[in-house]
Symmetry: C2
């Protein structure tokens, strides 16, 4: 029997953001591989072997999953959000590239999901309604000099920004450094939002401005959105204001 | 009775990429508003008034939908992909900002969906696995000079690119001009993909390089991905190669 590997996007958390394709794949796998908290989101099923691993071992996890598929197993690698956006798809394809030839002949399918920036944007109105950049602030896998270069380029192009992995306990400084780069280049009135755990019970949204924001409130579960020059707040009586980045440009 | 407006992401097309949240919203609305081909994707339901409109009248369509909600109706505005990404969320929030005060007091909810770049990326492996920019090449709403500035900035930052609206019958030139900007700045070996109508019966994928690509094959239904300096092809025997933009940087 031929094995298969599905890289499954679980979305931000709630079941009503999980695609039917992802649900069907979860119902058909024999092995469930992923970072612990994502594996824990999937309801246990008889005959499915869960293999939870740590956050930092994406490449090893991908290799272990491919090895199982090469043995003929139907394997699901689960990712929060969309596996194609700062998640497991890149680790799996990189492991395929570096591993034995048989891994490159496997049935490998990536199943997209709602990414954190989309969940955040939905709650916030239309902050990413124009051109935007998605940028991870983690310097675990790339040098800070590159992150800084990309922040500057995003400002040069007047892109709105979706910032992933803004901070963690081990990396509290990057979001402060990033805001210093942005504050030197964008108006203090630029709308900014901190969207934490959108769709989960501990969801928290803060809408503020670049000048007034406290970047220290960002953590590992936070997606930070920084507006472009055209982004503005739309006040709503008794409700959180919406952010709007119009598609048109003056 | 209080009206409500849902901006509903239909995803790229197939039902297995439609979120349960979007399905539930479609089952509860009284008015269905949208661009003709998106309205046509929704199964007719007794008591639902479909209001299909032309592609170019997004702002007017948003205003008409808000006016219906202000009358107490439950209105669904449908978008292909994710309404927050080059789609109807921005038009609705902009119409709220410019319209009567009562529109800003309405229940307006954006329901995210799988966007074209995510569907394309899923088919192609992990082309957007690192930092990337999403950029619309349409100059209907912004000047070409801004698009060119953003392409240059994206190259300065070595971002991978997801190019929306690369061409239409009325705008055949932009994708050629964009490729000229990119070819002056990125290696001819840079992986490029043209992903047309992903998930629909007429899906077509072309994987090539910046040097060899024919940008003329892009049309209104095509999402174009252009790699960063680290993006490479991963050959698979008998299968279309995957694109990989690793999360790590040398």
């Amino acid at each position: 029997m031929r094995g298969a590997l599905y890289v499954i996007g679980l979305g931000p958390g709630p079941a009503d953001w999980l695609t039917p394709q992802a649900s069907a794949a979860l119902a058909g796998i024999e092995d469930l591989v992923g970072y612990g908290p994502y594996v824990a989101r999937v309801a246990p099923r008889a005959g499915v072997q869960p293999q939870a691993s740590d956050n930092r071992v994406e490449f090893e996890r991908a290799g272990a999953a491919l090895a199982l598929a090469a043995q003929g197993r139907r394997v699901g690698v689960v990712s929060g959000g969309d596996p194609g956006v700062f998640a497991m798809a890149a680790a799996v394809v990189e492991a395929m590239a570096q591993g034995p030839a048989e891994w490159r002949a496997l049935d490998v399918e990536v199943l997209p999901g709602v990414s954190a920036m989309q969940a955040a944007a939905a709650r916030l109105g239309a902050p990413l309604g124009g051109d935007f950049c998605a940028l991870s602030l983690s310097d675990n896998l790339k040098p800070w000099s590159l992150i800084e270069r990309r922040l500057i380029a995003a400002c040069d192009g007047d892109f709105a920004l979706a910032l992933y992995n803004p901070a963690s306990k081990a990396r509290p400084q990057q979001i402060h450094d990033a805001f210093a780069v942005l504050r030197a280049r964008r108006a203090p009135s630029t709308p900014v939002a901190f969207a934490r755990a959108v769709g989960r019970p501990d969801e928290a949204l803060v809408v503020t401005t670049l000048g007034e924001a406290d970047p220290g409130i960002a953590d590992m579960s936070t997606l930070v959105i920084v507006g472009a020059s055209t982004t503005r707040l739309v006040q709503r009586p008794g409700l959180r204001p919406f952010l709007l980045t119009p598609r048109s440009y003056p």
